[in-house]
């Protein structure tokens, strides 16, 4: 039973990272304001939102099992307070920080209509902070940190997000520059 908890905790941790990476990628795709993979814009947003809620579920299981698992070093206080734990406090603390930022991003998104665009957007930027911290936490904590499969999964996640961020920063990101459209409208070619 305790072994099962241990595996569940590690597994859900890895799944959370994979989902989180997908959510970041989909978020950038949403921002691009164009259909992606044949999905209309609203569907890209829908998948982005759905995947983020799913990642929250896996995050909850990950943290919950770590709390219940007698082998795991996580105490209730470590869920809220980073770097306080006795065991691998640095790597574990990163997990706490990543999780708290992620929860902040999710909660403000759920309250988006009420808190207004500015606050929501400001907090949403924290995703870019939370994600690398989550990657570091995944690689630095726990018993799997030397294993090849974990490194491969992490490399896939990093590759995906880095590619999307590079796309986001590229000049071709905007669907169609408005000046070009305007020039066409006025017959200037």
């Amino acid at each position: 039973m305790t072994n099962a908890l241990w595996y569940l905790g590690r597994g859900t941790g890895v799944v959370t990272l994979v989902l989180f990476s997908l959510v970041v990628a989909l978020g950038i795709a949403t921002r691009s304001a164009r259909p992606v993979f044949g999905l209309p814009r609203f569907a890209v947003t829908w998948v982005h939102r759905g995947a983020s809620l799913l990642s929250l579920v896996f995050l909850a299981i990950h943290v919950g099992t770590m709390l219940l698992d007698p082998y795991a070093p996580l105490r209730l206080v470590d869920v809220v307070l980073p770097f306080a734990g006795p065991y691998r406090s640095f790597w574990l603390g990163l997990g706490t920080i990543a999780a708290e930022l992620l929860v902040a991003v999710l909660v403000t998104s759920l309250l988006r209509q009420r808190i207004g665009r500015r606050v929501w957007r400001f907090v949403h930027w924290a995703a870019y902070l939370s994600w690398p911290v989550a990657v570091a936490h995944t690689l630095g904590t726990g018993t799997d940190n030397g294993s090849l499969w974990l490194w491969l999964v992490a490399a896939g996640c990093v590759g995906l997000v880095v590619a999307c961020v590079a796309w986001r920063l590229s000049t071709g990101f905007a669907a169609r520059p408005r000046e070009v459209v305007t020039a066409e409208l006025a017959g200037v070619r």
Binding site: R178, T182, L185, A186, G187, V188
Partner: protein, 411 residues
């Protein structure tokens, strides 16, 4: 511009720059007491807003009066470059405006009172307020308006007074219900306030003696362009545009010739957000909402600008549209993207580019920007451009054929 007093109505005939002369002419402030008595007087008088929209003043006051802790703002920010009547009034009859502000504040039970004026007359306004200590019951704060076209727009006024930039904002609720910091707010043009003071003085019947049944009273007109004596004049609503031009001395004389009158080709009514009327129609068109409606025009804030036949209407419209595009607050996509391109297209047409698609492209751009902004800046610009497409249709054909009437006329 110099203003003359050829046809003074109540505002200009009562005008006095100093307080003692003002008191001599108008007497003590006619306080109306509690209970909104003034609102009833304004309803009977039929006073409408003189800032351009022409909304019944009593209805705005009544709406603001029922709210909690109302705010009253006298709006003297005259962003329109073709208009000079608000600053003329604030210079020549500041106490008439300030009387109106006090009476409006009394009528709605205002908690706060502001006067929003361009920086160059703010000191004069502060001095006038200081002179009135003892006459006034409501303290008035002077706030300086920037010299931009949209700074006088109602939501921009409120934004500026709240300490933000003077830019229009999205109106979720009516300003009379939720304006400055969410409080019910009366934003009233300074000329409207001056009329309000005169009505409190002389009663609604005297006000109704001039003007039309639907639009009673007089208004201040800024008459400019090719007229002999451009300036600010007071005239009753319903006066024909030809009569207004005569107030300003009629068409200007020919430059460098024997003193003959310049022929006019068109009149721009309502300012830069207004509409062109061909001179043949303009002469007999009454300056009123009903009278100008057939031409897609309104009296607006009383601007009348005469275009001489020697100046191309397309060139003038292109110039104005270029100015309006520059004055876009660049907040709303259709306005930010559409107005500069409308200006460019008009400039090409005016400059004689023989591309027969240009008029259609203008019409298409106009349809793309109209009704699609937080304020009426795109709508007003479209009104001007569409009227130019109608009124200068023959000129457009000439330009597309590589000619221009102003050049032909001189041959």
């Amino acid at each position: 511009m110099t203003a003359t007093m050829m046809h003074p109505g109540p505002l200009l005939s009562l005008a006095a720059a100093g307080l003692s002369e003002h008191v001599r002419r108008t007497g003590q402030l006619p306080w109306q007491g509690p209970g909104g008595r003034l609102i009833g007087l304004l309803e009977r008088a039929g006073l409408t807003g003189r800032g351009g929209a022409g909304f019944p003043t009593w209805r705005k006051l009544a709406a603001v009066a029922v709210g909690e802790r109302p705010v009253v703002i006298g709006n003297g920010a005259e962003g329109e470059p073709a208009s000079a009547k608000d600053r003329t009034l604030l210079t020549r009859a500041p106490h008439l405006v300030l009387d109106g502000l006090q009476l409006a504040a009394e009528a709605v039970g205002a908690d706060d009172c502001y006067l929003y004026v361009p920086a160059r007359i703010a000191d004069r306004a502060r001095q006038a307020l200081a002179d009135r200590a003892g006459r006034d019951r409501f303290a008035v704060t002077v706030v300086e308006a920037p010299d931009t076209f949209v700074a006088g727009e109602e939501s921009a006024v409120i934004a500026r007074i709240a300490g933000r930039r003077a830019l229009p904002t999205d109106k979720v609720d009516l300003v009379v219900r939720s304006g400055l910091r969410g409080r019910p707010t009366l934003v009233q043009n300074v000329e409207t306030l001056a009329h309000l003071a005169v009505i409190a003085h002389r009663g609604p019947a005297a006000f109704r003696r001039s003007g039309t049944e639907a639009e009673p009273g007089s208004f201040l007109a800024t008459i400019g362009g090719a007229v002999a004596t451009p300036g600010v004049y007071e005239a009753p609503y319903g006066i024909r545009l030809g009569g207004l031009l005569e107030l300003a001395g009629g068409p200007a004389t020919q430059p460098g010739r024997d003193g003959g009158k310049q022929p006019l080709s068109a009149v721009l009514v309502g300012g830069y957000h207004g509409a062109w009327l061909p001179i043949a129609d303009a002469v007999s068109a009454p300056m009123s909402r009903a009278g100008l409606a057939p031409f897609g025009a309104t009296p607006g804030a009383g601007v009348v600008h005469a275009l001489p036949a020697s100046y191309c209407g397309l060139v003038e419209t292109a110039r104005i549209t270029g100015y309006l595009a520059e004055q876009s607050a660049r907040q709303c996509g259709p306005c930010r993207n559409g107005l500069p391109m409308m200006a460019t297209t008009l400039h090409r047409l005016a400059a004689g580019e023989r591309d027969s698609r240009l008029p259609d492209q203008l019409a298409r751009l106009a349809a793309l920007v109209v009704n699609r902004g937080a304020c009426h800046h795109p709508d007003g610009t479209v009104r001007l451009v569409r009227s130019a497409l109608r009124v200068f249709a023959a000129e457009i054909d000439l330009h597309l054929a590589g000619r221009c009437s102003t050049v032909e006329g001189r041959r």
